[in-house]
């Protein structure tokens, strides 16, 4: 058959099919790409923002015998090369930059300080590039000295500015280290980091900063610093009598990270650790890295994102395929005459089905290729679905066309007499439908009970099953209420309601497909809208939880009263609540708790309208669950204060979420040293920061935008919006297409009734009445399904990582978007019906009836 000619004749239908297939292919291939690229971005960001000591790979060893001591740079280099050689393939793209090596001692006490001061020795392979000498010079070769009858090495060292300040170390000082196996250090220079913000220093923070440790039960802090020694110093550094360890740092380059490779990287880290341990000849090498933990956290967030995306993308694909099937239905209906003639004139089933498939392919294949091609404009890695998606769309469209034509033309004469008798449902079909419904319900129960964490494919199919079950029940049950209306209408005098509803109740089986399209379209889009809304409101809640006020200023030192009045005077400031936070002694023992003294009533006022609140408190204290059940207790804060427990709170917005904490009225303190301001008003955080240089200014809006700005969160919300819009459009197309598919038959019926005296206005009402019940019912069921799905899946899908860590559970029933979707759909259906009768009115009555004659 002449496919090109057939295609030209049915150009309009093919154009519709082309557009539908193109959009479906583009969405199915493009969305996963865009999402994967944002997953990658999220991974990179999470790797880049994690401290380097956590993300990077560090191979360490503690030499236990003098033979294992490394004295030269070359020995370090040799091992560094070795690590890079045995690096598993999955880690290679991540470890690209050159790392550094270090040798450090820990807990090296200054002789005679009673374990209060420690000066460790440290060697960095690239110290000369990392530090600037602000005083003195870089350390060089050391010397020796006699001490307690032995010759001991004297290391030339440099110390950080921090150590100079905190520990009073000065150039020229000589310190004896060790309680036995003494060494001496000669301070020859003071250094500062060339770039203190460099991730590099995350590995060597103890060199830049003095570490203060408060041992359990002690009142004073131990001070630790690590000094820098030279290469010559390294040669003299012995492990004997020291806690000496060597480190090789292999930095992770986040730019090479890919979310797809995460499981491999995880395995590769374990493998690398194992292989590195095998390299040791004496003391074992061990791998230190927080990478698996980082990746684990990322995978948890990613898993949820993927599940949600699977659900909505699956729904989108199903709906797109349904709409395409509707368009194919329209096309094969239009082709029916040609194919019937061809079949009757000796066309084999293969020829006839092949022609239908070829005509469909003429629209779908170019559309698939175009969609596939366009999807490459979307940034992101190429996933299997990018190839598979368009192929599935094309195959389904062509296959459906061929199958439908083959089925209807199996016998050459295919005259349906659906006008004579209504179809009776077979027992087999009923059984199958009951099975589907039962499976869907059982699946929903299991999903609620188990959750989706296991990635159980059966549970992933539950939403699909629920949708299908709802569609089946709708299809099976909708005629019953309708027949009731028919009975009522039959009593009335008007003919149109009776006729319209009767026709609706006897709708041909072709009306199954619109239901199967509309229902998931509405269901998934409402689901997406509800989830998206839930995430949005939880994000808002999380931002309030984080900050606790529109603007919060915290300072380590007291904010002077003058500054406070300046803040009050700032333009836009409506209210300022003063608070003091501190760590207080509970009772008389060593028990400590965080405490805040604040005017709770005022605070409650500025939280008015926010999704968080603080219980009222006029005297006594609110305590955390860990401090519950103490009745009246005493705290030491400036003075001894006796407090009665007035309530238990799980968390205090903006301040504490766990541990021991106490909220007391500000009046409890005799002389409050205000270090926290809670501010309401339209004032820029920058001007506050200028006013209070020591303060840290946090604003709820900034916190919210920070949560929203997370790539993963942004993608999930953005994808939900795209899917909602796409599904809404598909639903509208489905309504229009189903109107057009049934057009010929309806036109015939209406024409026939017009010969009996049906007016145009009545004809319009008839068409609307015929179509509306199905659309309305489907819209209602779809709406219900979409609202129900989040509750059915709620415990299974954990969206906490998109909402600033808070579980998204309280799906507020904001019915605006869902109702707008359903109402829009119904409105389009009605408009379509009116337009349709308006068009068919223009046709010649005689021609319609004659061509439509059944023989």
């Amino acid at each position: 058959m002449r496919i090109a000619l057939l295609a030209r004749v049915h150009l309009g239908t093919l154009a519709v099919l082309f557009v539908l297939a193109l959009s479906a292919c583009l969405l199915v291939a493009g969305l996963p790409r865009a999402m994967q690229s944002s997953f990658d971005e999220a991974l990179r960001r999470s790797l880049a923002t994690a401290p380097a000591w956590q993300a990077d790979l560090t191979v360490s060893v503690e030499p236990r015998s003098p033979e294992e001591d490394l004295r030269e740079r070359g020995q370090f280099d040799l091992r560094d090369r070795r690590w890079r050689q045995i690096l598993p393939a999955a880690l290679r793209p991540l470890v690209t930059g050159s790392g550094h090596m270090s040798a450090k001692t820990t807990r090296t006490p200054v002789t005679g300080t009673g374990g209060q001061t420690y000066i460790n020795l440290g060697w960095l392979s690239d110290a000369d590039q990392r530090v600037d000498w602000v005083q003195g010079r870089a350390p060089g070769r050391g010397s020796t000295m006699r001490y307690e009858g032995a010759t001991i090495p004297v290391f030339e060292v440099g110390v950080s500015e921090d150590a100079q300040r905190e520990m009073g170390l000065q150039v020229g000082q000589r310190k004896m280290l060790g309680e036995n196996d003494y060494v001496a250090v000669q301070i020859v220079g003071i250094f500062k980091a060339r770039n203190p913000a460099d991730r590099y220093w995350s590995h060597n923070l103890e060199i830049l900063q003095v570490t203060k440790i408060q041992p359990a039960g002690a009142l004073d802090f131990e001070k630790h610093t690590t000094t820098l020694i030279s290469d010559e110093g390294l040669a003299a550094l012995r492990s004997e009598g020291r806690n000496l360890s060597y480190h090789w740092i292999l930095p992770i380059d986040a730019r090479g990270a890919s979310a797809l490779a995460v499981p491999d990287v995880d395995a590769a880290v374990t493998e690398f650790g194992r292989v590195a341990a095998l390299q040791s000849t004496g003391s074992p090498y061990h791998l230190e890295t927080g990478l698996p933990k980082l990746l684990g956290e990322f995978r948890a967030a990613l898993g949820t994102a993927q599940t949600v995306m699977y659900l909505v993308l699956g729904g989108l694909l199903a709906v797109a395929l349904g709409v395409i099937a509707l368009a194919v239905l329209l096309l094969t209906d239009r082709l029916d005459h040609t194919l019937t003639v061809a079949r009757a004139r000796g066309g084999s089933l293969r020829q006839v089905a092949g022609a239908a498939a070829a005509v469909t392919g003429a629209a779908v294949v170019p559309a698939g290729l175009a969609g596939y091609g366009l999807s490459f404009l979307v940034p992101g890695p190429v996933l299997p679905i990018v190839h598979l998606g368009p192929a599935v769309v094309v195959l389904v469209a062509v296959g459906f066309a061929a199958a439908r034509v083959a089925r209807s033309h199996r016998s050459p004469l295919h005259e349906r007499r659906d006008d004579v008798a209504a179809g009776r449902v077979s027992a087999r079909r009923i059984t199958l439908e009951v099975l589907v419904v039962a499976l869907a319900l059982a699946g929903a129960y299991l999903l609620r009970a188990r959750g989706l964490a296991g990635g159980d494919p059966f549970l992933l199919l539950v939403p699909v099953g629920l949708t299908l079950a709802a569609a089946l029940i709708t299809l099976r049950c909708y005629p019953y209420p309708l027949r009731l209306f028919v009975r009522l209408a039959a009593r009335g005098r008007a003919a149109v309601p009776f006729l319209g509803l009767t026709r609706a109740a006897r709708a041909r089986s072709a009306s199954v497909l619109p239901v199967l399209v509309l229902l998931p379209a509405l269901g998934v889009s409402v689901f997406a809208a509800v989830i998206s809304d839930g995430i949005a409101s939880t994000q808002r809640l999380a931002s309030w939880q984080q900050v606790g006020a529109p603007i919060k200023v915290t300072s380590e030192i007291e904010i002077p009263a003058a500054t406070i009045s300046q803040v009050r005077a700032l333009a836009g400031v409506e209210q300022v609540v003063l608070a003091q936070t501190g760590r207080v002694q509970v009772g008389y023992g060593a028990e400590r708790a965080e405490a805040i003294a604040v005017d709770v009533a005022q605070w409650r006022r500025i939280l008015d309208g926010a999704p968080v609140s603080v219980p009222a408190l006029s005297d006594g204290a609110l305590v955390s669950p860990e401090l519950r059940g103490r009745g009246t207790f005493e705290i030491g804060w400036q003075s001894r204060v006796k407090l009665a427990t007035r309530g238990v709170i799980d968390s205090l917005p903006g301040f504490y979420t766990q541990g021991k904490f106490i909220v007391v009225p500000l009046s409890v303190l005799t002389r409050p040293a205000v270090n926290t301001l809670l501010i309401k008003g339209d004032v820029s955080p920058d001007s506050l920061a200028r006013l209070i240089p020591s303060g840290r200014v946090e604003s709820q809006e900034r916190a919210l935008s920070a949560i929203r700005d997370d790539p993963l969160t942004r993608t999930v919300r953005w994808a939900l919006v795209v899917v909602t819009v796409a599904l809404g459009s598909y639903a509208l197309v489905a309504v229009v297409l189903s109107l057009v598919v049934g057009a010929a038959e309806r036109a015939r019926a209406v024409s026939f009734l017009r010969t009996l005296g049906l007016s145009d206005r009545q004809a319009q009402r008839l068409t609307v009445l015929e179509i509306l019940p199905m659309i309305l019912l489907t819209a209602l069921v779809g709406l219900g399904l979409g609202l129900l799905l989040p509750y059915a899946l709620g415990p299974g899908v954990n969206l906490a990582s998109y909402a600033g860590g808070l579980p998204v559970g309280d799906y507020s029933l904001d019915l605006l978007i869902p109702l707008a979707l359903a109402a829009g759909l119904a409105a389009v259906a009605v408009l379509g019906a009116y337009a349709h009768t308006a068009i068919s009115r223009r046709r010649n009555l005689g021609a319609v009836l004659r061509v439509g004659d059944l023989t």
């Binding site: 005459h337 004139r345 084999s348 089933l349 050459p412 009776r424 004659r850």
Partner: protein, 305 residues
């Protein structure tokens, strides 16, 4: 005299001449029941029909008498429920899908009443004729020849909507003839045409019958058509009820004789007007005479009182 056992055996094994013998179309006790979700319609109720090769036969009957069903069965588009239907030696009941396709491709051609249904509007006349040839995998060289035969050679390159109804129907005849079938079935081919155009269309059919030797079966309501064929078969209630034979008389005039059809078990349909004229109902009396059978209305039984 009672037959002997050997005579009975010989009689039993002797092959009976099949009904209709080697006629071109044989329908024997043909039954077609439509079942649509619980509703049964008996369209053919044991129809017998024999048509020889090269005949031009018209089938007439009231609406719903089963004409179109018979034609659909004969054209291989529909499968009878029971009975025998044989065309050109092919059994229409036992054919599988492949045989049926071959049958439609090379044995039978047909024409529907609605011109719009016979032809594809976006193809030219020639392309329409070539379509069945191409479907059968043959080359479409004969198309113009066929169009000339039915008298519409001048329409070869016109699209269907550019032709008159008569021209369209004649193109449809050419389409039916495309694969050189042995049989053409036409379902009211002139139903939508005026008498003059009908004449042209019928001429085309007759030409095909005479020149190509094709058997032609026409279902019609049109008395004009019925008058022009050698044999007219009447169908009533899914059975053949009458036959009209026409032959040329001695002076060249056409003599038409109408016969009632006697089926193989001896059933006969009396014309309805005969029955009502003599008020025959339920029972009649038959009397065998030397050269005919007499049919009388049932005698009024004298009442006992």
């Amino acid at each position: 005299m009672n037959p002997t056992l050997s005579e009975l055996e010989a009689r039993a094994t002797r092959e009976k001449a099949a009904f209709g013998g080697d006629a071109h179309i044989v329908c024997d006790n043909l039954v077609r029941i439509y079942k649509t979700e619980g509703v049964e319609v008996v369209a053919l109720q044991g129809l017998d029909l024999v048509i020889d090769k090269g005949e031009l036969v018209a089938i007439v009957g009231a609406s719903g008498s089963g004409k179109s069903t018979l034609l659909n069965v004969l054209s291989g588009l529909d499968v009878p429920t029971a009975g025998v239907a044989r065309v050109a030696g092919m059994d229409l009941l036992s054919m599988n899908a492949r045989d049926r396709l071959r049958y439609r491709r090379s044995v039978v051609g047909f024409i529907w009443q609605q011109t719009a249904r016979n032809l594809l509007p976006y193809l030219s006349a020639r392309e329409n004729v070539e379509l069945p040839m191409k479907l059968a995998g043959r080359r479409g060289g004969r198309a113009l020849e066929l169009l000339e035969l039915v008298g519409v050679g001048y329409c070869a390159d016109r699209k269907i909507p550019e032709m008159s109804g008569g021209e369209q129907q004649r193109v449809a005849i050419a389409v039916a003839l495309a694969n050189s079938p042995q049989l053409i079935l036409a379902d009211e081919p002139t139903g939508e045409l005026d008498s003059e155009t009908s004449e042209q269309v019928f001429d085309a059919l007759r030409k095909a019958n005479r020149e190509l030797g094709v058997t032609v079966v026409v279902v019609t309501h049109d008395p004009l058509v019925a008058e022009q064929v050698d044999r007219t078969v009447g169908i009533r209630d899914g059975r053949t009820s009458s036959e009209t034979l026409r032959r040329e008389g001695a002076e060249g005039q056409i003599v038409a004789e109408e016969y009632a059809v006697l089926d193989r078990v001896g059933r006969l349909q009396l014309p309805r007007d005969f029955m009502s004229a003599l008020q025959m109902e339920r029972r009649v009396r038959l009397e065998l005479e030397s050269d005919h059978i007499g049919v009388w209305p049932a005698r009024e039984e004298p009442s006992d009182d």
